[in-house]
């Protein structure tokens, strides 16, 4: 126990927890995105997928929910604590400060993370619990999705959140492997190829759904 506490206390240990929980998130969003694309195969197909998950695979889903909840909480707590430490490490700011190579993605991890958290809460209330979805009907995945995303403001919120996710992953999918000490050495370590692909594929894969609903392609 003492060693676990020391690990969590250390900045490198805490950051490793963020990396592992972040990677859990990345794997989840890839799976979720692929699942969502069945919306283009029609209501029956998507609803059948929903019934598969909540029927025969119910235990699996609950297991995944527990893992994801733990991951999100650890990720958030570590993000908060590391942010506070970093603030405390430079209480007097520079009068002039000119970023050289840090990306927009890296500099928006924290506020982008807050946006993602807000999105996460809304999204669960919208399509899992149904509390903020006027058209909600248990088991009618397709109908619930249409009911929500046919409101342009909500669709735009979903699309903006996916932009934030893309930025978060553009940095995170790259940095996590360095945080875990497993990235190969590179003559230009700031270059990233796989992370760009993950960020773009995930964000576009999610965002096509609200776009298609607004354009009336999915009805």
């Amino acid at each position: 126990m003492h060693r676990l506490a020391a690990f969590w206390e250390s900045s490198v240990g805490k950051k490793a927890v963020m990396a592992v929980t972040g990677i859990v998130g990345v794997l989840f969003v890839i799976g979720h995105m692929v699942g969502n694309l069945q919306v283009f195969q029609g209501a029956e197909r998507l609803n059948a997928y929903g019934h598969l998950l909540h029927g025969p695979l119910n235990e699996l889903i609950w297991g995944a929910r527990v893992v994801l909840l733990v991951a999100v909480v650890l990720h958030m707590v570590a993000a908060w604590q590391l942010t506070m430490r970093s603030r405390a490490a430079r209480p007097v700011p520079y009068a002039v400060r000119t970023p050289q190579v840090s990306t927009l993605a890296s500099r928006t991890l924290r506020w982008g993370g807050v946006l993602l958290l807000a999105f996460l809460v809304y999204h669960l209330l919208d399509l899992t619990i149904g509390a903020v979805n006027p058209a909600f009907e248990e088991g009618n995945v397709y109908g619930n999705l249409l009911g929500s995303l046919q409101r342009p403001l909500i669709a735009v919120f979903y699309i903006v959140a996916m932009g934030a996710l893309a930025l978060h992953l553009y940095h995170g999918a790259w940095s996590s492997l360095r945080t875990l000490g497993v990235a190969p050495e590179s003559p230009s370590p700031l270059k990233r190829r796989v992370a760009v692909a993950i960020a773009v594929i995930v964000a576009v894969g999610f965002a096509v759904v609200p776009v298609a609903v607004i354009l009336g392609i999915v009805r």
């Binding site: 060693r3 690990f7 206390e9 250390s10 900045s11 490198v12 240990g13 805490k14 950051k15 490793a16 590391l82 430490r85 970093s86 405390a88 490490a89 430079r90 209480p91 007097v92 700011p93 520079y94 009068a95 002039v96 400060r97 000119t98 970023p99 050289q100 190579v101 840090s102 990306t103 890296s106 500099r107 991890l109 940095h171 790259w174 940095s175 360095r178 945080t179 875990l180 000490g181 497993v182 990235a183 050495e185 590179s186 370590p189 700031l190």
Partner: protein, 263 residues
């Protein structure tokens, strides 16, 4: 060089009489600056004038003025060591600026680097990180033959690149988190890559990271600013190596250390 080549520069310098005193940016006009002057020579000229006027000269750190000792280091227009890549402040020349420029000069800013006066900060926190694990155990006795221990060429090269760190603290200054990860990682890599550094490799990673945290440096987000600011161009690959060593060390069962020596 003709008289026309000289420039008129304005510097806005952080003035702070002592560690506990308040400070502020103060503007000084510096006429007659030659492009061949180094940045520190420009400050020398300014200091001479301040002394003649009976004012206190600006305190700044420097020693070798050859880019090798790591004593100098200023935040120049928001960039650690100024606008030239792979260049310490002492090796920066005024030809990198233009006539009429207004240049803001600030000390390294970090909780772990308290300002002593003006542009001078206390960087002993870095020494304490070294003391916590930046060494190897070597047997006493006659010096061993240099060629007795084979070192693979790639390891020798990488260790040499990491050993180029002069401990100036620019990585901390440039990091938005005020992290000393690049410094600590350079020291961990430089020893951990070599056969002589293996005995303490994992204990070193644990204790140097712990010391880094105790000194109130921030954590690493991998912004990359440190690597860009480093006058010796040390790569953030060293940080990947430090993290790997730390995590492997944390996963190992703790070693019960026997007291050395005889009773």
């Amino acid at each position: 060089m003709s008289h026309d080549d000289t420039m008129q520069i304005t510097v806005r310098v952080w003035r702070q009489p002592g560690p506990a005193a308040g400070g502020a940016l103060v503007s000084y006009d510096v006429p007659g600056v030659s492009p061949e002057m180094s940045f520190l020579e420009m400050l020398d000229v300014l200091n001479e004038r301040l002394t003649e006027r009976g004012e206190l000269p600006i305190a700044f750190d420097h020693d070798c003025r050859e880019g090798i000792c790591g004593m100098c280091g200023l935040m120049i227009n928001g960039v650690a060591h100024g606008p030239e890549k792979a260049t310490t402040t002492c090796q920066l020349h005024m030809r990198s600026f233009r006539n009429g420029d207004v240049i803001t000069v600030e000390p390294w800013r970090a909780t772990a680097f308290p300002v002593l006066a003006d542009l001078v900060v206390d960087r002993r926190a870095l020494d304490r990180i070294i003391a916590s694990g930046g060494f190897i155990s070597a047997p006493t006795g006659g010096a061993p033959d240099g060629n007795a221990i084979p070192v693979p060429k790639p390891a020798a090269d990488q260790a040499m690149d990491a050993a180029a760190c002069i401990g100036c603290g620019a990585c901390v200054a440039a990091c938005p988190n005020g992290s000393a990860s690049l410094f600590t990682a350079a020291k961990i890599s430089h020893l951990g890559l070599l056969p002589q550094g293996q005995a303490e490799r994992f204990r070193r990673a644990l204790s140097m990271v712990q010391q880094m945290d105790l000194e109130h440096f921030g954590s690493c987000t991998l912004y990359g600013e440190c690597q860009e600011a480093c006058p010796k161009e040390i790569s953030i690959d060293t940080i990947t190596r430090m993290n790997g060593d730390f995590l492997r060390a944390a996963a190992q069962p703790p070693v019960r250390e026997a007291a050395t020596g005889s009773i």
